[in-house]
């Protein structure tokens, strides 16, 4: 079994397959990162967060990163290359898709239904909640029962308490956020210490990432993880089955890794890029691309922020970042609105003084004597609703190969073409106005809004559509490529639709389900001769 990418889904698959006795090799272009590398405890933390630990590979520009041409994209795409993948820099907001997210064609007449349902994934959500250490409060009425995160909820803080009270008065849904951040010491990991730095590496190891939740066990069970290995092509034999991959190491040497089964876990940009790079005589438009859908229907969840400022010092630079509380009040479709589907709101803290002075989200810098008044107003006194919703698939939003740009190995870089759709815009406009009402009811005396955040492409979804019809999709409901029977895709690229929640919980649940399939059907799996 060969896995490309040691991030969220790659780790989940590797741990399961290794435990089941498979020979597992994983190729990862990045490296391991120790907890003491992360910048949280350093006074220069906020400076380092904007470069060495920036979310955009174009900003970091590390040797293991590949550049992404975003000249024709409304939103910058964000990712991390290393063991643990983008989990190193994610917030840990651990939300499941809702049942209706799997059937938007049937219910709302848009996009496509998934070939699987919430109930198909539910057992895997429950398994991965435990593996990643989800902390939250059970019984959220926004989900069907059972909904029982295995660890207690994290503290929501003074600002979120104000908003929770406000939503109670408004009669609107709110619930303590579920985060893949341990609230208690468990499974050899420390509990959250509320550093407020989840997005730039957790120095406690409390935030789940597969480097410590999955890879160490997978390696103990015999998996081999090769770092600094950049895969450039999937190889296919005469029988149409995958035989392995070509990869390049940092010394420029080219290698071949043979395999019986190839599993792609390289995110919706990296996986699409690799399939397109794997074009050959029998598949000139890219591997698995007979449908023409490889790279198409990229979804990234256009993101808005609404910031409320309060009179009291809330010390909102501390605390987990993923979600203090969430609201699904306006998540489901409502025919009275001028858009379909809806959005999730996550309440987040607002960072330290450099972020207050030079806001990366809502708000503007102020200079001169008033700068000091601005800082007293903003630092620690705000809470921010982060809002994103269903990002309907558009075949013109896509990943292609850039004709000029290359990575440090000379391999063609991806180009992202992405425009925010009309439905997303109308949805965000509606949600922003409701979020203002929320914060004003909570007692905010000033509201700032950011109607579209460019650096918000954390959620990389689509580009290798899952479906039952080989003429219209790339993989089936198990992530198996229609055209290459021993090639599986387990990252967010397979999502037919985006839903309106953070995708990681669903990505790893889907990956766990595919891994179980591989284990159950090991005697029947076709491999290259």
């Amino acid at each position: 079994m060969l896995i490309v990418g040691a991030g969220a889904s790659g780790g989940v698959v590797a741990r399961r397959l290794a435990a089941a006795g498979f020979g597992v090799v994983c190729l990862e272009q990045g490296d391991w990162h120790a907890l003491d590398e992360f910048p949280a405890p350093r006074p220069e933390f906020e400076l380092l967060a904007r470069k060495q630990w920036a979310h955009s590979p174009n900003d970091r520009a590390l040797p293991e990163d590949y550049p992404v041409n975003e000249d024709d994209s409304d939103i910058a795409t964000l990712m991390f290359n290393g063991v643990g993948g983008s989990l190193i820099l994610y917030a840990g907001d651990w939300s499941r898709l809702h049942p209706s997210d799997f059937c938007v064609r049937t219910q709302d007449g848009v996009a496509d239904d998934w070939p699987i349902s919430y109930e198909d994934l539910r057992p895997y959500y429950e398994q991965t909640d435990v593996e990643f250490g989800a902390s939250g409060l059970g019984g959220d009425p926004a989900y069907p029962p059972p909904f029982e995160p295995p660890y207690p909820p994290l503290p929501i803080g003074a600002g979120a308490l104000k908003v929770a009270r406000a939503h109670t008065r408004l009669g609107w849904h709110w619930w303590p956020g579920t985060n893949s951040v341990l609230s208690v010491h468990a499974a050899g990991r420390r509990a959250c210490a509320q550093w407020g730095t989840c997005l730039w590496g957790c120095p406690e190891g409390a935030k789940a990432s597969t480097d410590h939740t999955h890879w160490k066990q997978a390696i103990a069970d015999g998996a081999e993880l090769v770092c600094g290995a950049r895969v450039s092509r999937v190889l296919v034999g005469r029988d149409g089955l995958a035989t392995g991959v070509e990869y390049v190491t940092r010394d420029g040497q080219e290698h071949v890794q043979e395999a019986g089964v190839v599993v792609l876990a390289a995110n919706a940009i990296g996986t699409a890029r690799l399939l397109l790079l794997s074009a050959g005589p029998g598949h000139p438009d890219g591997l698995c691309n007979g449908s023409g859908m490889v790279g198409r229907r990229l979804m990234v969840h256009p993101f808005a922020n609404v910031l409320g400022l309060f009179d009291e010092q809330l010390r909102s630079w501390n605390g987990h970042i993923g979600s203090k509380i969430v609201s699904y009040e306006f998540y489901e479709s409502d025919e009275r609105r001028d858009f379909v589907r809806g959005a999730k709101w996550s309440l987040a803290p607002t960072g330290g003084p450099i972020n207050a002075a030079l806001p990366t989200r809502a708000g503007k810098a102020t200079w001169g004597a008033d700068h000091h008044l601005h800082m007293r107003e903003y630092l620690g006194r705000g809470v921010s609703w982060g809002i994103f919703g269903e990002d309907l698939p558009d075949p013109e939003n896509r990943v292609t190969l850039d004709p000029q740009l290359t990575d440090s190995s000379g391999i063609a870089a991806p180009k992202v073409t992405y425009r925010v759709g009309d439905n997303s815009r109308r949805c965000l406009d509606f949600q922003i106005e409701r979020a203002k009402e929320s914060l004003l009811e909570a007692g905010a005396y000033k509201i700032e809004e950011e109607r579209l955040m460019r650096h918000s492409g954390w959620h990389l979804i689509g580009t290798a559509l899952m479906g039952d019809d080989p003429d219209r999709s790339v993989v089936d409901g198990l992530g198996r490529a229609h055209e290459v029977e021993n090639l599986y895709i387990v990252d967010g690229s397979v999502f037919p639709t985006s839903g309106g929640v953070n995708p990681t919980s669903t990505i790893v649940a889907f990956a766990a389900r595919t891994a179980d399939h591989l284990i159950r059907t090991r005697d029947r799996q076709k491999v290259a001769a």
């Binding site: 405890p41 350093r42 006074p43 220069e44 933390f45 906020e46 400076l47 380092l48 470069k51 049942p99 209706s100 799997f102 059937c103 049937t106 219910q107 349902s117 919430y118 109930e119 409060l137 059970g138 019984g139 959220d140 009425p141 926004a142 069907p144 029962p145 909904f147 207690p152 909820p153 994290l154 503290p155 929501i156 308490l161 929770a164 009270r165 109670t168 849904h173 303590p176 609230s183 208690v184 210490a193 509320q194 550093w195 605390g319 699904y328 009040e329 489901e332 479709s333 330290g352 003084p353 450099i354 002075a357 030079l358 200079w367 001169g368 700068h371 000091h372 007293r376 630092l379 620690g380």
Partner: protein
């Protein structure tokens, strides 16, 4: 200057000192940028952490006019956004890393704070969860999503991981 690919010399530091004080002057019981060494020791700290800033900072200092900081900043932003951003981040970074500035603002830095999950949250004490449960499910039912039963019982997340069911009364902290 001991850090960075493009050293920032004394004439540039003088220019940075003047411009930084325009951006962050002494006012409202806060020191000016130059008073905490934004163009001196703090600049070394900033460039030590971010050597990549040195080159665009040098470009910025060659173009900005402290006598017209708003106009020259706007022109710089349009002509050379990387230089513009480097200048502002250097000033702000040096200022807010300084210990005395942080103390005056009451900013502790990013520090660990113990999580105490055994303490009943205020939102439970105040009865904020009960109305949500009383309202019932808000998710949209689909054919195989399970019944629309109310989330009327919730797992008690005790710190020793001995999960048990707790009633709504217990959830509200009532005996």
């Amino acid at each position: 200057m001991s850090h960075g690919a493009a050293p920032i010399g004394d004439p540039q530091r003088d220019r940075l000192r003047v411009f930084a004080d325009v951006l962050i002057p002494s006012a409202h019981d806060m020191p000016a940028a130059s008073e905490v060494g934004v163009a001196d020791r703090q600049l070394d700290v900033v460039l030590g952490a971010r050597p990549d800033l040195a080159e665009p900072l040098a470009r910025a200092l060659a173009r900005v006019d402290p006598g017209d900081h708003e106009g020259s900043l706007a022109r710089l932003r349009d002509a050379d956004p990387a230089a513009h951003d480097a200048l502002l981040l250097t000033v702000v970074g040096g200022y807010y890393i300084h210990r005395d500035v942080r103390r005056r603002l009451g900013y502790t830095g990013q520090v660990p704070v113990e999580v105490r999950p055994e303490i009943i949250p205020d939102y439970v004490d105040e009865g904020l969860v009960e109305p949500l449960l009383a309202r019932g499910p808000i998710y949209r039912q689909v054919p195989d999503a399970g019944g629309l039963t109310s989330g009327s019982s919730i797992l008690d997340h005790s710190s020793d991981r001995s999960a048990r069911r707790m009633s709504s009364d217990e959830l509200q902290g009532r005996p």
